[in-house]
Amino acid sequence: MPDFRPFLVLGLALGGVFALSGVGIVVLYRATGVLNLAYGAVGALGALISWSLINVVLLPDWEAYLVAVAFGGVVTLLYGTLFGPPLAQRDPLVKAVGTLGFTLILLGIMSWAWSYQAHSLILPTTQLGFEVGEVRVNGTQILGLGLGLVVTGVAAAFLRFTKLGVAMRSLANHREITATLGVPVRRVEAAAWLGAGLLAGATGLLLSTLVGLDIVGLTFLVIASLSAALIGRLESLVVTMIAGLAIGVVQACLTAFDSVGPYRTMTPFVFAIVALLWFGFAQGRLSRT
């Protein structure tokens, strides 16, 4: 029996970040009906901008990180304001394909301005570390898991108890009726875009430290986070969080087995495919709000 403890730490940290981005995806989908597939690309571009600010402009680290998070919020809000309303009445698939266009634009900008060469961004929390038993845990791993848990809790409470949160939930149920009741639909949607964008920026920073600052890799980690969101049926924040953690832990623990270890990055996709098939065949069609 291999020693799983080091992998458990890695897995919980990665799973926390999957949960964090999964929550961002679910909140935006519930409020606007848009499945934002550009989530990873926004995070990656934010991380690259903060890399340039630190290494080229020589800005203090924390300012650069703030810029990355703010950039995520602003660029996502910009997309939401420009392309959200014209596509609002269309099929969810059309809205998702629109964000694929946004992804391509961001990917093009990144590979043009930063090229595919390797960059590295290490958050200062990585230097903080302590021993749990015999396993070394660093601050970024704690931050990943902690943010995942905290953001899930805060987002769930926000949707449950605040006026804006209730407006977002009612938008998810019926856009027209919500508008008739006097909810400022565009403003509520803008808030959801901004919130999801800020989370995307934070996710990008964490993932570039935990996984590596690789343009294509980070852009497509959105698919892994999406798996968690899909298992939560794009609805339940708590299930999304648990699924994110489970995917992270299983993926990391598979490293210990030589026979399946090389295939471990397939974990999120296999989880998602199984979940989609199960939803599809065991419980009838998925609802298409």
Binding site: L104, L286, R288
Partner: protein
């Protein structure tokens, strides 16, 4: 529900009875003249591309032409799925890789198999794999189907990184690390296809056959059933269309075509590399297919040119090909917002509008209404 709402029902989609009725009422010359002109244009273009082009361009551009022709089969398969049936697949490039893998594996397993037979066998096996991926389409629709194909594509590309393309090694996977440097993952071409020009011509002929297969399907019972499914699945069921059969048939046909393209790619000059089929290429593929237009058979041709010729032209002119990725992203958004039928419809319409406007200005009657 389709990604792009079709502005009008094309002639091919109308029930055949209506077409026959029109034909009976119209005189033969009226109906045949445009069809004859169109057929003549297609035939002339095909003959030019097939016979004259290899003599006009260098080997480098001929290989680009070969790639364009191969990818036009892939864009055709996706355009059929998206435009005709309303199913969005984000896994077509991974399926292309599967086709390449199957072809190379068959090449090592049965070296004596004639090349055309090998291509057909590759198409059939890839068709089976694609149908398997398409099975969820029976229960999941729209967004969820697109996502499951994206997940399957991501899983396939991870698996491919680990297993590699076969290079004559032992076992089912047929890959041996020891041979990695000396044997490339490439399908051996028979002697009659050894030169670039002969292989190019063969690829163009195969692509033409695939387009003919597509046209035949769209004009037959399958195409009408697909149109019914695309417009409303419940009405299709009510009208007695076998939705299960025709959805799976669409996936099988598209995967068969993509498999054949994979086999051709395996035999082309560069061979296959595991990093040649990243998941983002499936997204770029969807982008160009939507930009080209999914309701016309010219769309996939334009899409293949955008995908494989344009980057080479940009490199030739000293521009970074990354600009294209940005352009494709903008193109998708533009298509989604304003031009659901793609460039093949939009450009002629806008040009006609421009010409009408300029004429109106010249005649001093002010801006004229754009011609529809």
């Amino acid at each position: 529900m389709s990604v792009a709402e079709e502005p009008e029902v094309s002639a091919a989609d109308r029930p055949r009875a209506a077409a026959v009725g029109t034909w009976l009422r119209a005189t033969a010359s009226e109906i045949e003249r445009p069809t004859a002109i169109r057929a003549a244009v297609v035939a002339a273009l095909f003959l030019f591309v097939l016979l004259a082009l290899p003599g006009l361009v260098s080997t480098f551009w001929l290989q680009i032409g070969t790639t364009v022709a191969i990818y036009s089969i892939v864009t055709l398969s996706l355009a059929l799925l998206v435009g005709r049936v309303g199913l969005v697949s984000l896994g077509q490039i991974s399926l292309l890789a599967v086709g390449g893998w199957v072809a190379v594996r068959l090449g090592f397993a049965a070296p004596g198999l004639p090349f055309p037979l090998l291509l057909v066998a590759t198409g059939v096996i890839t068709g089976a794999v694609g149908t398997l991926i398409g099975l969820p389409a029976l229960r999941l629709s729209g967004l969820y189907l697109a996502l499951i194909t994206l997940m399957a594509a991501a899983a396939i590309s991870v698996a491919l990184q680990v297993t590699n393309f076969p290079n004559g090694g032992p076992g089912f996977l047929g890959y041996s690390g020891a041979l990695a440097g000396s044997v490339s993952a490439k399908l051996h071409r028979p002697d009659w296809l050894a030169s670039s020009a002969s292989f190019y011509r063969w690829v163009v002929v195969v692509a033409a056959v695939m387009f003919a297969l597509g046209v035949l399907h769209v004009r037959s019972r399958a195409g009408r059933s697909w149109a019914a499914i695309r417009q409303s699945e419940p009405s299709a069921i009510a009208a007695g269309v076998n939705v299960t059969l025709y959805k799976l048939w669409a996936f099988a046909l598209a995967s068969f075509m993509t498999g054949i393209a994979g086999g051709l790619l395996a035999a082309s000059a560069g061979g296959l590399t595991t990093y040649g089929f990243p998941a983002q290429d499936s997204i770029t593929l969807l982008a160009v297919v939507l930009m080209g237009g999914v309701f016309s058979f010219w769309g996939p041709v334009v899409a293949a040119l955008l995908l494989k010729l344009l980057p080479e032209l940009l490199k030739n002119w000293g521009l970074p090909p990354d600009l294209l990725t940005i352009l494709f992203g903008l193109g998708v958004l533009q298509v989604m917002l304003t031009a659901p039928a793609g460039l093949v419809v939009q450009v002629p319409r806008d040009l006609a509008g421009l010409v009408a406007m300029v004429r109106g200005r010249l005649a001093g009657t002010g801006p004229a209404e754009p011609a529809e």
